[in-house]
């Protein structure tokens, strides 16, 4: 019970803060409540299949296999796979984090995890068509091109800047999430 309260304390505080917010700012009340409803619905809709898929990956994909596919020795093919996985994934960025945790747990390299997160956030292929029709093909394609460069750059910089000990901590944390 105590552990439960401790875990959910921040959530409870935010919900109370939300109540205080809509009570004190009448001009934003309606929009805030509508947003809460919309976002909660999106999350409840998108989240179940993501977690089911990562549960299936966790159970069925052997660690040796994942290391071979996306581990530190997987080279350009591993990076391409990480990029493809991220690009075809659906849903908001927060869906990528638990997915990344399972991939780390199974032995994917940190570099590939960063590429996966980057691809998930910016290079959604179905969204690209939509973006091109709304903002023009030139806008969408040049954004895609520069963002692919950005994904690689950010992965490279983070690999360089993050100490090995911190990286190990992240992997230990992912392994403990069972």
């Amino acid at each position: 019970m105590k552990a439960f309260v401790k875990r959910y304390l921040a959530a409870l505080v935010s919900l109370v803060a939300f109540g205080v917010f809509i009570a004190s700012f009448a001009r934003w009340r309606e929009a805030a409540v509508a947003n809460l409803w919309f976002q909660a619905r999106t999350m409840l809709l998108v989240v179940p299949p993501i977690f089911i898929l990562l549960g299936l990956i966790d159970v069925w994909v052997p660690r040796e296999r994942m290391i071979k596919l996306m581990g530190s020795g997987s080279g350009a093919r591993g990076a391409a796979l990480a990029f493809g996985l991220g690009s075809f994934a659906a849903g908001p960025l927060y869906g990528a984090f638990p997915f990344a945790a399972v991939l780390m747990k199974k032995g994917a390299s940190f570099n590939n995890i960063l590429i996966f997160i980057g691809a998930w956030s910016t290079t959604k292929l179905p969204m690209l068509l939509f973006e091109a029709s709304a903002l023009g093909a030139r806008f969408a394609l040049s954004r895609l091109a520069i963002d692919i460069v950005g994904i690689a750059l950010i992965a490279w910089a983070m690999n360089l800047a993050l100490p090995a000990a911190e990286r190990e901590k992240i992997y230990a944390n992912a392994a403990a999430m069972d």
Binding site: I50, I52, G55, W60, M127, L135, F139, I170
Partner: protein, 160 residues
């Protein structure tokens, strides 16, 4: 639309898994639920942050920043708004198109779209839960800086 594909994939995966091994499928579902419950507290925090930030930064105030404040301040403002909001693409793109038609600069709109996708200030509680404070903050800072560079590139490419 891609949510349906996601469901089809999950259902197909579950069916294939159940045909092969009932017990393992049960384990997968159990793990799925545990993983979900593990992130639920951060989820709720993010939910509240998103709802409030989107209410305050509504389309009218966004277009005010992007429209009048052209130049670097407008770009900076656009990327900051993009960083703290969480809008799905199918809502963001038509909104961005409306901003363009309303006279906002391409670079400003590109800054907004780029940081909207790459930077997630409101989802930081979740990102930190998986990646730790340091890596999460670093990724978002780098992504934000990069979104500025991307905006200039897109602005230039469209003007060609």
């Amino acid at each position: 639309m891609d949510t349906i594909a996601l469901y089809l994939l999950a259902v197909a995966g579950l069916a294939a898994s159940a045909l092969k091994d009932r017990k393992k499928t049960g384990m997968a579902l159990k793990k799925a639920f545990k993983a979900f419950e593990g992130i639920l507290p951060q989820f709720l925090v993010v939910l509240v942050l998103v709802s409030i930030s989107l209410a305050v930064a509504d389309q009218a105030s966004i277009s005010k920043v992007l429209g009048e404040g052209s130049g670097f301040i407008g770009i900076l403002g656009a990327s900051l708004i993009g960083a703290v909001t969480l809008i799905p693409g199918f809502v963001a793109f038509p909104a961005a198109a409306a901003l363009l038609r309303g006279g906002a600069g391409v670079t400003q709109v590109a800054a907004f779209v780029s940081s909207l996708m790459m930077v997630g200030v409101v989802t930081l509680p979740m990102e930190m839960r998986y990646f730790g404070r340091r890596a999460a903050l670093m990724r978002n800072a780098l992504a934000w800086l990069f979104s500025l560079a991307a905006a200039f590139f897109v602005g230039w490419a469209v003007s060609l």
